[in-house]
Symmetry: C2
Subunit: 338 residues, 2 copies
């Protein structure tokens, strides 16, 4: 949901007026009592599980802007990007996250509290608490987040665990987030104007991505009896093309897509712009996996929206169509420095 902009008059004090100590006091409301009282945070013991850590930053003007992302969605997305990395490692338990907030002194406290509110919504939905953090002046707003979770050491997902003959699987469609971003920027890249319902879906995909912990649960439920745990995978934060490259390169294989295998968002007409967004739009935060074919079939049957899209083949090489071995149309993937 896009929040209407409040007038500057209604926004209350700026961070410079408030000062860091007062800001930290206000932010304590978003964490459990006593949680933010010390230089660092103690974590719960890990028991038989292994702890997993992931860091990811959201920067104004790069990953979000006033036009595309209200404060609450900034907080949600920043946390979701990190939780998605934990899901992509196979975590089924999360501890929470630390936040290093950077912002100009003129930033309103209201913006900060709304961003932490979005983060809190994510924590309420997927578990974990605000573990700690840091506030600092910066020329633009940014949230650098580190998430902690726990994984069974015998059920880790790693990029390099793929083998020739594995089925490539996605937990859901790709391209909606990139379409949502384009629409929020006032662009409409598709040949046919999207319906109001499609617009809402696309914007929701961009502003409120869902870390796919449910896909990790579906992996456990769908594992064929006697099948040892071997799951290759990553999340598609940097685009489907990049995810397939990461898995196939780390596994020493080639990724071949089924003809018609692109996991386009359902309900849209065939469209080359949508195909490009599907491959390189980025920020869909789905899981991209390589699984033994029997497991892949069972997984897809378990998880609505999941589908098989191709195969891992023995000879390393660039992403191509399986039938013809023709390389996919060019595209560099989501590129952070351009």
């Amino acid at each position: 949901m896009v929040l209407s902009n409040c007038s500057p008059m209604a926004e209350g004090p700026s961070l410079a007026e408030l000062g860091e100590s007062q800001l930290l006091e206000r932010l304590k409301a978003f964490a459990p009592p006593q949680q933010l009282n010390d230089d660092a945070a103690l974590l719960a013991p890990e028991g038989a599980l292994r702890r997993v850590i992931s860091s990811d930053a959201l920067v104004e003007g790069v990953h979000f802007s006033e036009a595309t992302t209200p404060a609450q969605a900034v907080g949600w997305r920043a946390g979701a990007a990190n939780y998605s990395d934990l899901a992509a490692m196979g975590c089924r338990q999360v501890d929470g996250l630390t936040v290093a907030l950077g912002a100009p002194g003129a930033t309103s406290l209201q913006w900060v509290e709304q961003a932490y509110g979005g983060l809190t919504e994510l924590l309420q939905r997927f578990g974990g608490v605000l573990l700690g953090g840091d506030c600092s002046r910066a020329p633009v707003r940014l949230l650098a987040i580190t998430a902690l979770g726990r994984v069974d050491p015998g059920a880790v997902i790693q990029r390099g665990a793929g083998q020739a003959g594995d089925r490539l699987v996605v937990s859901g469609a790709h391209g909606l987030s990139g379409l949502g971003l384009a629409l929020l920027q006032g662009e409409q890249p598709l040949a046919r104007e999207p319906s109001p319902e499609q617009r809402v879906r696309a914007i929701e995909a961009h502003q409120r991505p869902q870390p796919r912990f449910d896909a990790v649960e579906a992996l456990h439920r769908s594992r064929p009896q006697g099948q040892p745990w071997r799951v290759a995978g990553t999340d598609s934060s940097d685009g489907l093309r990049r995810s397939l490259a990461l898995i196939s390169e780390a596994s020493g294989c080639q990724a071949q897509l089924d003809q018609g295998g692109l996991p386009l968002p359902p309900g849209f007409s065939a469209d080359t712009a949508l195909e490009r967004l599907c491959l390189d739009g980025g920020e869909d935060f789905e899981l991209v996996l390589a699984l033994n074919p029997a497991w892949a079939e069972a997984f897809v049957a378990q998880l609505p929206g999941a589908r098989c899209i191709g195969w891992l083949r023995a000879e390393p090489g660039p992403l191509c169509w399986g039938a013809t071995k023709k390389p996919l149309p060019g595209g560099r993937g989501y590129e952070h420095f351009n």
Copy 2:
């Protein structure tokens, strides 16, 4: 040591020319083999200890600039600020850190590699490895770092553990880092021109702060027999005044400084500018502690440079001189948003 600036010709490719994938490949050289291969990092099991997490960001134009801090010192300082938080929690073991790097596309790869080189020097000196991270475009250079360590749950240092009658103790002098920063900015705030040796010491204090894990060890060695573990403390990243306020407020006490108790850097003449830097300069990264008097005396005897500077008193109130109860000269402490 101040590194001379290299000419732009010698700096090699920019991040935009290199692209994120290639950059990540280059950064793998700074981590153990395979460490940066997945979406997140697995941590070693924690055994009988508890894991501790801390996040802190260094932002160009706020915490460093080309004039004050060569790339290697940026990496060192960013890591040291986080390790200092772990020391301030009582950690005696460190796992390492994750780095979210932000930088404009025109940033040279050389700068990034030198910054990670400085971080690596810190890791070699104090332990731990580069656990993971993220790279992103940003309008200025920044390193948002999260550090992980481990602490004996029976030997944690917390701000609120102080009691009336405790001695206030510092692990070392305060003010040198702030003086070093002023000198690097072409200012000379002292009444008497510092000697070349004093300049070098001040600049070194600013560019290469030392997390005081040695002070944690000295706490363990100096603990009087039969004395239960009760240590209040924090690090002085935001200045001595702020540290004393954090401890006294969290402990419900008042901090009273001994007359002449300011821990000024040795070898300097009395100077009101140096006194201000000692109280509010910030970034000295010493430990500020409140200890039972017998333990405080033993600790100071164990650790060269450490000294007792005051007392915690029962009635809450602002930082003051012990003899006269006169409040200390005004000053807001190190303020991040101005």
